[in-house]
Amino acid sequence: MFDDFFTRALIAGIGLAITVGPLGCFVIWRRMAYFGDTMAHSALLGVALSLLFDLNLMLSVFIVAAAVSLLLLLLQKRGALSTDALLGILSHSALSIGLVMVAFMTWVRIDLVGFLFGDILAVSQADIDLVWGGGILVLAAIVYLWRPLLASTVNPELAEAEGLQPERARLYFMLLMALVIAIAMKIVGILLITSLLIIPAATARRLATSPEIMAVLASVIGVLAVTGGLFGSLHFDTPSGPSIVVAAMGLFVLSLLPFGRNRNVETAIHSTHGGHH
């Protein structure tokens, strides 16, 4: 039927889409699109460090992304600069430091475009195991943390007053984001990870009547986008990441066509995208 590499990419991509659906919902509910971007961009620094110290790639990406998010929390508490200025500094610094480090390492040859935009050819059996293993871990954690995460998304003080632990939920959420970025990198690429988080979730908003339904729908829409994008990528010989994002965008545009119920949602979705470049 298909070549092995394509089947592997499809299996990995579907696993990834299911994983990022619920997480992506929290990213847009909490208005953290740019935050996700910053963590994703820092992944290239993780790639460079993994090459330099000969570490496992996903592990070092995870560690760097988690470290960047913790650093941001620390800087936010100092309150010297606005959050979006801090994000801009962290995001592009981490990306640039990664690129500069890679340029210095003349002894390694890496496919930079593959890291930035995803490379279906690079998906191995080990990657599939990691995507599905990591994905199940992330989904289990989201189910377990659902109530405190959702309550603190609505209002952290309310959640804390009524016995939930919003700070802890927030920390776990950051770690889950870092984990997802580490496993998504090969398939959609560093620059496009957040779009796989945001676009299916935003598409699901118009169809959903509860947070839970929206999370499930975001996964389903993500699976459609990944499948469509990967077939497109195979057919037109385009990089896998952008192809998936184009497919996701197509579904989003479809969802905006006026056969839904709720017109107000459109403006809301646009304003959520405001902070995202």
């Binding site: 847009i28 509910w29 909490r30 208005r31 109530r147 959702l150 309550a151 998304t153 609505v154 209002n155 003080e157 309310l158 959640a159 804390e160 007053a161 009524e162 016995g163 939930l164 979730a201 935003a202 908003r205 959903a208 009547t209 509860s210 947070p211 339904i213 929206m214 107000n264 949602v265 403006t267 809301a268 979705i269 304003s271 959520t272």
Partner: protein, 307 residues
Amino acid sequence: MLRKTDQAPLVSLNNAGIRRNGRWLVRGVEFSISRGEIVTLIGPNGSGKSTTAKAAIGVLKPDEGWVEKIPGLKVGYVPQKLAIDWTLPLTVERLMTLTGPLKGREVEEALHSTGIAHLARAEVQHLSGGEFQRALLARAIARKPDLLVLDEPVQGVDFSGEIALYDLIKSIRNKTGCGILLISHDLHVVMAETDTVICLNGHVCCRGTPQVVSQSPEYLKLFGSRAAKTLAVYSHDHDHTHLPDGRVLHTDGSITEHCHPDDGHHHGEHAHGEHDHGAHDHVHGPDCGCGYKSRLQGFDTKESDRV
């Protein structure tokens, strides 16, 4: 009426102070809430009412003093501001179980008692201000808390809605015997059922019991007989006024840098309240909200002249 005042208080604040960015938001706050008791916090904007309430429920940790809670205290909280993002699909029904599971019956009862049963399936973003306040109140009472903390629960609600909500709060207290900490947006008019009024302005300015409106024919005329049963008037008893420059004007006409309890300017410290006048290094707003100021200084008071 379920009153178990002999039991230990649900929450007590002991000389509690909260400091942010080198400034005391509130300091020297002392009060407690027992089962069946309604405590109302009043004070001008920025006087530390919400901060004090957050300290009472453990959302903010006091930087001095301490807060004692009974173990396993179950809190129902209606925050002052709650903005739910448009991207979050949330019906009133789903809002009810936000912080903990409830039985369908409990949800129904709470929605029914706040008069919004017909809105169960409405998205919260579509509610009017008053409907949303009712939904938040329904959510807080549905979990049958020991302590209900309501931060300006009648904001955005019209006058008759305000009376209805206060009646509801009263009946919740009578039915469940929970303690209620209420923050009022009005400096003078409070719920008639209030046991203790605490006037804050960076510290406890004065405290006491409200004067029941229905006993005064003047107010009866002003509020109407139904409202007069629900509302009460609190007359402030301040012995000093915080001037715009942070200095303190005492009733004997003298002005000091701080209000110390032992500087001889204060009248009857025990009747006035149990709070400790520490060195206040905070700056007060121009409006202390007390009658003394407007009388003594002729300052414009911002609050409506309903009383």
